[in-house]
Amino acid sequence: MKLGTLTIAAICAAAPAMADLVYPSLSYRTGPYAAGGIPFADGYADYFTLLNERDGGIGGVMTRVLECETGYNTEKGVECYESTKGEGALVYQPLSTGITYQLIPKTAADGIPLHTMGYGRTSAANGSIFNNVFNYPANYWDGASIAVNHLLEENGGDLSGKTIALVYHNSAYGKEPIRTLEELSEKHGFDLSLLAVDHPGQEQKSQWLQIRRERPDYVVMWGWGVMNQVAIQEAANIRFPMENFIGNWWAGSENDVLPVGEAANGYKSLAMHNVGTDFPIYADLNQYVIDAGKAAGNGDQVGTVLYNRGFYAAMLAAEATKKAQEIHGVADITPAMMRDGMEALVVDEALMESLGMPNFGPAFSVSCENHGGSGQAKVQQWDAAAGEWNIITDWIDSDRAVIDPLIAEDSGAYAAENNITPVCG
């Protein structure tokens, strides 16, 4: 009841300011995580600039990206959220698991959707309980399972007796995959060893010494920011075979491997979307945004992995906006309508083709129960000589039999803690 009134109040408060579609970008272009934050923010902003320049916005309404610097810091994240929500913000994408945890209850109270693409709270995939949080197309537990599935495939379906070490950022973000990996280690009979790396992750000598001593067969990494390149450098220092080292999708950008040079050759990571600029939409981007001098930031990030991710995130937000306009028949939508659009989102091959991004991401659809998408990813491998990532697998499915019960358990606990009744079905 209270929540409902607040939602209405928030919408009423936001209504007068909505002459355009506002997409806040809680970016971080400073601090130890800036290497990841800059390309994502650039990609996110450039996609909307492209829509404005080429199509005149979405459905005839111009878009506006409202950038606010968080420095990957939760306090600044809260300040950014409060200062931007009054401007009619349609969807928040904080690109930080810590800030996501702050915003999940706040956005629920304010009725603004939250899209945490491949990060944030995994159990938010249960849309019945996390009604306004979306983490399609894939989440951390999918990622952990996909990494293990990839290793299973390499080992002929049998990992028993093998050892996998998880090197993780010692925060909510890095701890997310542990539960899943523990379940999977029981199921497939591999040993799991956990190695925590503290923020910001420049100090990893002892962890890699331990890896050198224990000689695990594989190392899986949940890293972000400066931690990634340090880890890859340390792995190179102890001559750990790079093809047995798999990062998650936040540990697989050019910034992570380039500083290590030749030694990083063969490093693998998960990929939730395709790499490179070999898509028709980039011709439009060049014509309308880059050559016109309207690129965000320095404009030097185009086509990098994380730029593509920001681009992809913006594409999903724009498509959800179109969906919302279609459902409600108004061009100037509210956050509540945006939520409906996100929940009805269907991304298939035909749609991506029509956008000039064929096979860019997985085909998936969102429903009231499932806010997590298809949970698929690919594996990419770094070619140091050519200086590029190569996709080496097709879309790999995650092990739903393991993940779904975990999601049900964790979201159920959240619902019980916060007295939430499931809304679907």
Binding site: E69, V78, S171
Partner: protein, 358 residues
């Protein structure tokens, strides 16, 4: 003219020793309190609460706490972040273990738990001084953060290692959780600030405070005139940690709502609070408030001016903020080592004589 003491006669010791001996100050103080309590809650918005006022109030409590230890008792501490974390985790455990408990009890109990932890970490201060004590408290900072990250019991074994504040109320008014009204958040913190500032002021001008200052100025001389260093130092640690613990608890329960210990209560927090009391003024109640206000407001004001008004890129403004804070710290250390409080004191001296200086 504005600020004079002519005609303000004192006829008793109580009147002579009051906190604000000048009438203008007294009136100003009560007017400020009246505005803070009776006017602000009615006009406060979400943005004002969570960007300025609530963090300012909470940091003011932390700065008061550290000022008692460092400014009044002369014991340098770099463990503020760790002690704030103790307050936060204590309140989290209390809130989840005893859901019926009201937030005043939770917060005050968290303060007492932190006081006990702080006193334990204060024990080495009997043997070591100065920089060495700073290093010992630094160890407390790292140990506490590590412990809260490592031991699952503290975060109720949640998968992410985060702690989330459940919805709790005081006299039927929700003060934690996402459905909290801005004014409730603000008033809840304000009550603590007023009470704690009053306690701090009266402690520091009484016997206990004088003992602390004696220890600060010269511990051997203090011991010779009969101050028990064990008692003085440990009470300073305990009282300071009590304040810091309450601010840590409020920071988690009221302000952030979800906390990741390494990020929120890391070493940077210790330094931030230390900068607040250095810029504000060591050994001054007013200085704690001034320093907290300064360091909370500065980034927000810079952002408002830089990004919203001038339209500069967000990263440039964020970098500028670092440059300006750094420059200001150097400026204050060189030009006015006693901080904003001393500037305020000088202004008052001048105003008393204005417009006819000698």
């Amino acid at each position: 003219m504005l600020y004079r003491e002519a005609g303000d006669f004192k006829t008793s010791y109580t009147a002579d020793n009051q906190t604000f001996p000048i009438q203008f100050d007294r009136v100003g103080y009560w007017a400020l309190l009246a505005v803070a309590v009776l006017v602000v809650p009615f006009i406060i918005t979400d943005y004002w609460a969570s960007s300025f006022l609530v963090p300012f109030l909470i940091y003011a409590i932390a700065a008061l706490g550290l000022n008692i230890l460092t400014g009044y008792c002369g014991q340098v501490s770099l463990g503020t972040g760790g002690f704030m974390a103790v307050g936060a985790y204590a309140s989290y455990k209390l809130m989840t273990a005893f859901p019926w408990m009201d937030m005043f009890t939770v917060t005050i109990l968290s303060g007492f738990i932190t006081a006990a932890v702080g006193a334990a970490f204060g024990l080495p201060s009997l043997r070591i001084k100065g920089f060495y004590l700073a290093v010992a408290t630094l160890a407390a900072q790292f140990f506490l953060v590590w412990m809260f990250n490592k031991v699952g019991w503290f975060y109720n074994y949640s998968a992410s290692g985060q702690i989330n504040a459940p919805e709790r109320s005081v006299f039927g008014i929700i003060v934690t959780g996402p459905n909290t009204q801005a004014w409730a958040q603000y008033l809840f913190c304000l009550i603590f600030v007023i009470a704690l500032a009053w306690i701090a002021r009266n402690l520091t001008r009484g016997t206990v405070g004088r003992q602390w200052m004696a220890i600060r100025d010269m511990d051997i001389a203090a011991e010779i005139i009969g101050v028990n260093p064990l008692r003085a130092k440990l009470t300073a640690f305990a009282v300071s940690s009590f304040f810091v613990g309450i601010s840590g608890a409020l920071f988690f329960t009221v302000y952030l709502g979800a906390v990741e210990v390494g990020e929120v209560y890391g070493i940077t927090k210790s330094f931030l609070v230390l900068f607040m009391i250095i810029i504000g003024g060591l050994g001054s109640i007013f200085g704690s408030f001034a320093g907290a206000a300064f360091l909370v407001l500065l980034p927000v004001v810079l952002k408002l001016v830089g990004v919203d008004l001038l339209g500069w890129p967000t990263d440039i403004v964020a970098h500028l903020n670092l440059v300006i804070v750094g420059a200001l710290i150097i400026f204050f250390l060189v030009v006015e080592p006693h901080g904003l409080a001393q500037l305020w004191r000088l202004t008052k001296e001048k105003l008393r004589l204005w417009p006819f200086p000698h």
